[in-house]
């Protein structure tokens, strides 16, 4: 299949998702509100702590807001584009419905990952963008178009890293038959992405900064806006993206070979 046909398929899926969302408008509104509520909770935490302190590991209130906004942006994109697809993949592997994706022409990974869009996540990504824009304004930063484009690129890397990590966890279902705690592990990891890198010391630094890609997905893009583009950080993020995306795809492909369907 050519690239154009993939784009066409993606657009058809997007259209289907929009139609579906419009059918269940109240549901959409409620879930958008749920996500929004949780984002507000995290912003409130920052607001409360900065009532009592001026900086956390050298980050001022609005710098921290920029960081948290960036973390939210990455997470909203994951929620909007990939979350329910990957979540359902685990269920489909167990139930045998995964056959349906294998029977389709085109890459199974593409078919599995892009079937559905969650418009509530996408809607809230605009809220996250507004948080970032507000922080930029309060900090008096004046990013050029190129700065913003680089930021967007780094955020995209963050999304791909998360996607790779999630894909890897979910693909374990091929072996384990269950992927308990996907949600728990993902949201727990994302908590660390709302912290400045400088707060991690000792073992925490090794685990959350170097081994798990929890901290850099938000810190590298946010730093790029705050302190200008830092090539070594960008290279680090790109390498991490290649690693986790590669790992996710590799585990998925190995799992695919192992998949023997389920009796119906």
């Amino acid at each position: 299949m050519t690239l154009l046909s993939y784009v066409k398929i993606w657009l058809a899926c997007a259209r289907y998702s929009i139609v579906r969302t419009m059918m269940f408008r109240f549901d959409f509104l409620m879930w958008a509100l749920v996500e929004f509520g949780w984002m507000a909770v995290n912003l409130l935490l920052i607001a409360v702590i900065y009532r009592h302190t001026d900086d956390i590991a050298g980050w001022t209130k609005y710098q921290m807001l920029l960081l948290v906004g960036t973390s939210m942006l990455v997470q909203r994109f994951i929620m909007g584009f990939f979350w329910s697809n990957l979540f359902e993949m685990a269920r489909n592997i167990r139930s045998g419905h995964f056959d349906f994706f294998l029977a389709q022409p085109g890459s199974p990974l593409f078919m599995v990952s892009t079937r559905k869009l969650d418009l509530d996540g996408i809607a809230n990504s605009f809220v996250a963008m507004a948080v970032v824009a507000y922080a930029i304004d309060k900090l008096g930063l004046a990013p050029s178009f190129i700065d913003l484009a680089l930021y967007a690129l780094l955020v995209l890397c963050g999304v791909l890293i998360n996607y790779g990590a999630l894909l890897m966890i979910v693909s374990l279902t091929f072996w384990l038959g269950a992927a308990q705690g996907i949600e728990g592990s993902y949201f727990t990891m994302m908590e660390f992405s709302r912290l400045p890198r400088e707060t991690f010391r000792g073992a925490a630094n090794v685990i959350f900064v170097w081994i798990l890609p929890a901290v850099i997905v938000s810190n590298v893009p946010a730093r790029a806006l705050l302190h200008g583009f830092e090539p070594h950080n960008a290279v680090w993020l790109l390498a991490t993206t290649a690693l986790w995306l590669g790992l996710g795809i590799a585990v998925f492909n190995r799992g695919l070979r192992r998949y023997a369907s389920a009796s119906s």
């Binding site: 409620m30 507000a40 409360v48 009532r51 590991a57 728990g184 908590e191 660390f192 707060t199």
Partner: protein, 268 residues
């Protein structure tokens, strides 16, 4: 069969079925250790350059969060709301309408059983990391804190469960209640003091929160035990907490009788 014996059986049944889910609880407890790491890193960094925040030092604040975590596993509602809504949707609830058993009492017995299991399991990872934690744990020594804290904890369990129960009963009216539950969880997380100790909020907000039931879910007992409340506010708090227990029981009763009127008992 005596009235109490019925609920004792429900409790024992709940104990058995929750031991089946021990791994879920264990995994959950493990994740909460990661959350604790997040809390330690964040507050540790916030305290750099100052010894006190809101009148409390770092160790007092960390103790608050550790105790809060233990409290969640002992008295917090996990998915009781979801279970109840499922029983209504599936029609499993119909059998309780025919039997001489109170549904609230039955559910509450199972809740106590579930929390006994999850509470004890949550202690395991805490004990494992205790060598790292113990230097940070500081509890006040006044005896009255235990005397007032324990009843506060028991009433907190009632409030936790009854709010979850009410949300579960919403299934009489709505097809899908999961979004209500997660949204209200966000509110509870903030107003129950799980995100940060409520006393760090602006005074007007702190006072306002004391009139809401969420304050009495987690913050109130934890704050008594960790020395964030003095005796007079603990005593007046207990009175308000008792009011909320009664009020919520009334709301639960109302939802139950109204809900049953709508209920058509299909299937079962």
């Amino acid at each position: 069969m005596s009235a109490l014996a019925k609920y004792r059986h429900a409790f024992l049944l709940g104990l058995q079925s929750n031991i089946v889910y021990r791994w879920n609880f264990a995994i959950r407890a493990l994740f909460s250790l990661f959350h604790l790491a997040f809390v330690f890193i964040l507050w540790g960094a916030a305290y750099k350059g100052q010894t006190q925040i809101g009148g409390f030092d770092l160790d007092q604040t960390l103790t608050y969060f550790v105790l809060l975590l233990v409290m969640q596993f002992f008295i917090g509602a996990f998915n009781e709301d979801y279970q109840i809504s499922e029983e209504i949707r599936n029609g499993l609830i119909n059998q309780f309408l025919l039997k001489p058993i109170n549904y609230y009492g039955y559910r509450f017995s199972i809740f106590i059983a579930a929390r006994s299991v999850s509470g004890l399991l949550a202690l395991l990872p805490i004990i494992v990391v205790l060598p790292l934690l113990k230097d940070h744990l500081v509890f006040p020594h006044e005896g009255w804190r235990l005397g007032l804290g324990l009843p506060a904890m028991v009433m907190a369990a009632f409030i936790q469960f009854t709010i979850a129960y009410c949300f579960g009963l919403l299934a009489f009216w709505f097809l899908e209640i999961q979004s209500f539950i997660i949204l209200s969880l966000a509110v509870e997380t903030v107003l129950g003091g799980q995100m940060f100790p409520l006393d760090l909020m602006p005074p007007w907000f702190f006072h306002l929160s004391q009139w809401l039931p969420y304050y009495y879910q987690m913050y109130f007992p934890t704050a008594i035990f960790t020395g964030r409340l003095d005796m007079s506010s603990a005593l007046s708090g207990l009175a308000l907490q008792a009011f909320w227990v009664v009020a919520l029981l009334g709301i639960a009763r109302l939802l139950w009788t109204r809900g049953l009127r709508r209920h058509t008992a299909v299937g079962g």
